[in-house]
């Protein structure tokens, strides 16, 4: 096979893997949007916050150390112990559940029946708050996150492809793990929402708030539940992205990357998030590979948006979104 084609195939594969990572973030958006009609801008910051908390717990950092030092003139940093990864993840899940409860108690409860745009703005406010809160709590320096996930070149794929094509494909182990985890996550979420009691309640709320209320489903409980699940998805995304890029502020920007994925897949569809992620991931890598060098490079910044924009002009509800029916 010619070299360009092999390159393109490698780029496509890597793009698909990157798309899975985008889809992981997009999943959290879809969950909350389906269950409460809230477009949760804070999803990306939640991933950052989860990753920060995980690293902080793992390394035994003192929360709010910076603030305490500034107020009392002390200099505390670490407790001096480290927590095993699994326990740290479990503790972070607890923190994310607490966050979900706090968000419901302090914010959402008061905003029932407001227009979607107001709720959207509230989540932007929440994103700012969480970003500052995470930094104050754990410090803003770039941290390394290591929970024992494999990283680097996958030698098996490299050797196999080298033997077949005479050219070794570079596939990151982490991307493979991410793909497996994303598949497991989608599968378990689907099973959960199809067969469990809470899952059915969740779908009922997504379908019609008032009808769900009238058959005795507690809206507030469902909201806490769905935010907790979204928090968990954020944690998974945070671990993946944090391992890949290091835990830092730019992690919250992946939320922006997830938005075109959502537009493409439709805000209300879990499979849509996955397929949208794959299309965006593959498309932007291929575009950068073929067209990028001609027009100055770094097209990944905007390609996804323009693709989604053009796509929406022809299909305003996205690939798998519910058909928009408008009445006066």
């Amino acid at each position: 096979m010619p070299d360009t084609l092999l390159f393109a195939a490698e780029v496509t594969l890597n793009g698909l893997m990157a798309g899975v990572m985008y889809a992981l973030v997009a999943l959290g958006f879809v969950l909350i949007f389906k269950a409460s009609g809230i477009f949760n801008y804070a999803q990306g910051v939640m991933a950052l916050f989860a990753a920060l908390t995980l690293v902080g717990i793992q390394q035994g950092q003192v929360p709010f150390a910076h603030l305490i030092n500034a107020v009392f003139g002390t200099s505390v940093h670490h407790f001096g112990w480290t927590v095993p990864s699994l326990l740290a993840i479990a503790l972070t899940v607890v923190v994310m559940i607490a966050l979900a409860i706090a968000v419901e108690r302090l914010v959402l409860k008061y905003l029932v029946n407001q227009e979607p745009i107001i709720l959207f703005m509230a989540t932007i406010g929440l994103a700012y708050f969480l970003e500052g809160f995470g930094d104050v709590m754990w410090g803003a320096d770039i941290k390394r996150l290591d929970v024992g996930l494999p990283q680097g070149l996958n030698s098996v794929i490299d050797e196999t492809t080298f033997n077949i094509f005479g050219y070794g494909f570079f596939i990151d182990n982490l991307d493979i793990v991410a793909t497996v985890i994303a598949a497991a996550l989608v599968l378990s979420l689907t099973v959960y929402s199809q067969f469990s009691r809470d899952g059915r309640a969740l779908r009922a709320v997504a379908d019609d708030h008032q009808a769900a209320l009238s058959v005795g489903i507690s809206l507030r409980y469902i909201w806490v539940l769905v935010w907790a699940i979204a928090g968990f998805v954020a944690l998974v995304a945070g671990i993946m992205w944090g391992t890949k890029l290091g835990v830092q502020f730019s992690l919250s920007l992946i939320a922006l990357k997830a938005l075109p994925v959502l537009m493409l897949g439709g805000f209300t569809s879990i499979p849509g998030a996955i397929v949208g992620g794959l299309i965006i991931g593959m498309g932007e890598k291929l575009f950068e590979f073929f067209v990028g060098p001609l027009i100055g490079g770094a097209t990944e910044n905007w390609f996804a948006y323009v693709l989604a924009l053009l796509f929406l002009v022809f299909r305003p509800q996205g690939l798998f979104g519910e058909k928009i029916i408008e009445r006066v």
Binding site: A70, V136, A298, R327
Partner: protein
């Protein structure tokens, strides 16, 4: 006592339909203008001009622009930063290409160019609605910033990739460049704000404004009663982008002087202006001013208290500032979703009845 209509009889239609029908309101408006034009320029110093007054005036223009689009016409836009960048780069290209023409004309032309770009990115709004549109405007934001970063023609092939404004004069006084006195920079911004706010106020009161509001409240119903959605949405995009472009041009030429596009006109700027109109009040010109003032003053205030007053390190203060801004936005949305403008309306109603509220 205040805001009394009693005894204030209107004898003509013109008098009846004026912007400030209550005499007290009208005099307060004149008083504010008199102070802004006649008093502040004589007492202004560099710190107040650069930290508070000039950013306030420029953000007020941007906020009015976004308010026209989002508050009056209901089309949420997250591309404000990108459109401000268009204004900035347009004025830069014009200033360097035609140095003999007055900068005022350049700034207006920059607004016009931004309007054209705004219409281009507004076209999908006819098909895409709500959140989908909000996210679609992000395409404008990222694409425009990338364009100005990567195409050297826009920054005249300068080595740093930055653009910096040469010195230009209005009536013989430098208004841009490092030698411009604070009062001159302040005055040119003030003139633009005063004129544009007047234009915006009257546009939103008139036929066009009513069309926008009809589209905002329910676009299908508006279409049925005879509002042309194509015209209404595209005029909103055009006029809004004109305002935002002028704000971007002033932001670059008068306020910053030198600009790196990703830093000055990034996505953060889009959100900042959006917050201004939410906190100030959607669909209100006064709200645009109030929101701009609030979000310009808040960081200055917090910095003075936390760093200057308590002696905390600046990075901690910056994080706490983020928390406070985020918390305030949420609190505002819970307490008063219609923003400061609504608080002001309520206060006015109370004042009208005071001191006998029954």
């Amino acid at each position: 006592m205040f805001y009394r209509e009693a005894g204030d009889f209107k004898t003509s239609y013109v008098a009846d339909s004026q912007t400030f029908p209550i005499a007290f309101d009208r005099w307060r408006y004149y008083a504010v203008l008199a102070v802004a034009f006649g008093v502040i320029p004589f007492f202004i110093n560099d710190y107040w001009a650069n930290a508070v007054l000039i950013p306030f005036l420029i953000y007020a223009i941007a906020a009015i622009g976004l308010n026209i689009l989002t508050g009056y016409c209901g089309q949420v836009s997250l591309g404000t930063g990108g459109f401000m960048a268009v204004g900035a780069y347009a004025v830069y290209k014009l200033m360097t290409a035609f140095p003999d023409i007055s900068i005022v004309i350049h700034i207006l032309l920059a607004g016009g160019i931004t309007a054209a770009v705004g219409v281009l990115f507004g076209l999908p709004s006819l098909r895409i609605k709500g959140f989908y549109l909000a996210v679609a405007t992000l395409a404008a934001q990222f694409f425009l910033v990338w364009l100005f970063n990567r195409v050297p023609w826009f920054y005249n092939y300068s080595a740093s990739g930055q653009i910096s404004s040469p010195e230009r004069t209005v009536l013989g006084v430098a208004v841009t460049g490092p030698a411009a006195p604070a009062w001159a920079s302040y005055m040119i911004c003030l003139v633009f704000v005063a004129v544009l706010a007047w234009v915006a106020r009257n546009l939103t009161r008139g036929n066009l404004g009513r069309q926008w509001m009809a589209i905002r409240d329910m676009d299908i119903a508006a279409e049925i009663i005879g509002v042309n959605p194509l015209m209404a949405k595209l005029t909103a995009f055009a006029i809004s982008s004109f305002f935002v472009g002028v704000a971007g041009a002033l932001f670059f030429a008068v306020y910053l002087g030198a600009v790196e596009v990703g830093e000055a006109f990034g996505i953060q700027k889009s959100f900042l202006v959006l917050f201004m109109i939410i906190i100030g009040g959607l669909g209100s010109i006064f709200g645009s001013f109030a929101g701009a003032a609030f979000l310009v003053l808040l960081p200055v205030f917090l910095k003075n208290v936390l760093v200057g007053g308590l002696g905390w390190p600046t990075d901690l203060a910056a994080h706490i500032e983020l928390m406070i801004v985020g918390g305030l936005i949420v609190a505002f949305l819970i307490a008063e979703p219609h923003g400061i403008a609504q608080l002001w309306r309520v206060a006015k109603e109370k004042l009208r009845l005071w001191p006998f509220p029954h």
